[in-house]
Symmetry: C2
Subunit: 205 residues, 2 copies
DNA sequence: GTCTATATTGTGATAGAC
DNA sequence: GTCTATCACAATATAGAC
């Protein structure tokens, strides 16, 4: 991961592009070699198998957005302070890699048994995260806000619009990709406003 | 679609199950035949090709949740009245078919050029929908609420938690599927509250 | 309608020449 | 490191017997 040859870089670049778009099973080694403009056997030379090449791409995808989520769950900073930063970071990452959400979620949906290992590797500790959430004064069950539901809402608002890109672009923006993109940028200001309102929530019970 | 033989029903049932889980390319005709407990050639007899079998499954998946979304965009009833109904309908559908969001979004992400045709077939008229949104008094740009952003938020909150099921279950609910499910049911009450707040929003400009 | 047999193509992967 | 040649196998699909 530290130093890569030019050939190796071309391989992952093509593999990322095609795996993101067509998925693991939908992409053949030949497809990747063609896109990278090289002989198919070179992929095996560098990565031994399709599984290992896919794994490299998958880990790289995880590495693009898991860290900022993990930081939210674990840092000493309160939700209230960290959330606006995290929203901007996540949305910027999604704008640069709009296909990542579906790619990652599809893999995890097919192989949910991989979650525990991934959680461990990414340095997430669910128990600690729960404790942090429970201890936050501004966001507690006593105030009527379940911290878990809050996290779910936050991630939904940030990530889903990218997973549903074609639907949103064609139905709400009549196929105008520029309009879609500028709406996504707009959400960097919009979502914090919504989040603030949710946190001040005083439910009707 | 009106009348199906028992064999035909078994085929689609198995095809749905496997396509939802592993995707189109990740599922072979043999896999489906095995799951349905029949000879592989029967699939070709009834559906001619894998493409056509997939298409049948895909259309059926669309049919499960597009109608309630289309109704929201077109019915004479105002957003304010229709939204709570729609939230309950969509979430109930997702609870029964939790794999549909990723399945459909993955297909549309791989083949976004299919959107225009699908929109037409499903009877959605983007221009009319825009007009309706613009004319609603309780939800207008003048009030600081972009109707398109509102729809995006609504769909995000309803659908994303199902697309991200494994992540949410293992990180936020420590692997407890029952807890996850009951949280999803809880959202049928939670999301309308959030939506109400968003609609009363008076942004700080 | 359901089976066996077969045609054809594509796949991932390796051995071995250069 | 990069190529050609080749392997074993799996895929979709069809023809034709029953």
């Amino acid at each position: 991961m530290v130093l890569q040859t030019e050939t190796e870089e071309k391989i992952v670049a093509s593999a990322e592009k095609l795996f993101y778009q067509k998925g693991k099973a939908g992409t053949s080694m030949q497809d990747i070699a063609d896109d990278a403009g090289m002989n198919r056997t070179l992929l095996n030379y560098y990565y031994r198998s399709k599984d290992q090449l896919f794994e490299a791409v998958f880990r790289k995808a995880l590495g693009r957005f898991v860290p900022s989520l993990a930081a939210m769950l674990h840092s000493d900073i309160s939700f209230e302070e960290y959330v606006p930063v995290m929203i901007e970071t996540v949305i910027d990452t999604m704008i640069d890699n709009p296909q990542i959400p579906i790619f990652v979620l599809q893999e995890l949906s097919s192989n949910p048994q991989r979650m525990p290992e991934i959680i461990r590797e990414m340095g997430i500790n669910p128990a600690v995260a729960m404790k942090k959430m429970a201890s936050e004064g501004t966001l507690s069950v006593e105030q009527g806000i379940d911290p878990r539901q809050f996290i779910i809402n936050l991630l939904s608002l940030c990530i889903f619009p990218f997973a549903a890109r074609p639907v949103i672009t064609d139905i709400l923006f009549e196929g105008d990709n520029e309009a879609y993109l500028s709406a996504m940028k707009e959400r960097k200001k919009l979502i914090p406003q919504i989040v603030k309102q949710i946190m001040m929530q005083n439910p009707s019970k």
